[in-house]
Amino acid sequence: KDYVLLIADRKVAYSVVALKSDHDKIMHLDASKLFAIAGEGGDAVQFSEYVQKNLHLYNLKTGLPLSTKAAAHFTRNELATALRKGPFQVNALLGGVDHSGPSLYHLDYLGTLHKVNFGAQGYGGYFCYSILDRLWKPDMSLDEGVALMNTCIKEINSRFLVGGADFTIKVVTAEGIRVLDPVLASSA
């Protein structure tokens, strides 16, 4: 209704080895935007920091915060320009709340942007889209949203081959960003 909820797993993998299992993949672009990134290690961090700093620069130059739509389009343009030079292997979900309400954008590494009500990047989609299709309704309260997220997490942890993962959960509301308790595989 008035929030965007993003979750991401916390594992960093290097071929078959899990390097780290408490890595935060949801970056705060500014006080009202979250950027959940899936992709190649270096690219993911570099690109998201680049976007974050450019948004900050815009804020410093103009004194205005960028709307979520504008930030999403800016990010898309960066990815699309880089596509034919040296593409960033970064798939992302950009969520934010601004004067026009909450919005979520699905961005892939080629620079395809789409505003969505719910979305997933990576293998998560195979498991979660059907759950979200069935159970998502417009104007859900935050508690209902979190319950829906927990259903998705349970599904991933039981059916995904590389499941049993911890998840970071962050929510953006009109008041700002809140980090909810991470869901630990042990408690799922």
């Binding site: 034919r84 699905h106 789409h114 969505v116 989609g125």
Partner: protein, 123 residues
């Protein structure tokens, strides 16, 4: 195309391989009251190309103070695509409009390099 009328239709799926991500994608854009363009192909190039096209059309409108003719628009699209001959936009445009004072139907489809094929009945 019909008598002084044209129609253009597209699906609304945005998907990756077998997964459908959205069912409300826009693939047809209005250029002006008597001109529409439909773009299919690689989604990111569709988005980039329509942004560039809107830019060129806005400039045209500011300079010429009139709406662009469909045949002229088709030429513009063709040229823009051919400029990228050796690194093309992966888009396949379909242009539908009404040309001239008599509202003659204008239908034109193009490949990714800008090769136009104008037709009378349908493309």
């Amino acid at each position: 195309a019909g008598k002084n009328c044209v129609g253009i239709a597209s699906d609304r799926r945005y998907g990756q391989y077998q997964t459908t991500i959205a069912t409300d994608a826009q693939k047809i854009w209005k250029i002006h009251d008597k001109l529409y363009i439909g773009l299919s192909g690689l989604a990111t190039d569709v988005q980039t190309f329509i942004e560039k096209l809107k830019f060129r059309i806005t400039l045209y409108q500011l300079r010429e103070e009139r709406d662009i003719k469909p045949s002229c628009f088709a030429q513009l699209v063709s040229t823009m695509l051919y400029e990228k001959r050796f690194g093309p936009y992966f888009v396949e445009p379909v242009i539908a409009g009404l040309e001239g004072p008599n509202n003659e139907p204008y239908l034109c489809a193009m490949d990714l390099l800008g090769c136009t094929s104008t037709a009378k009945g349908f493309v």
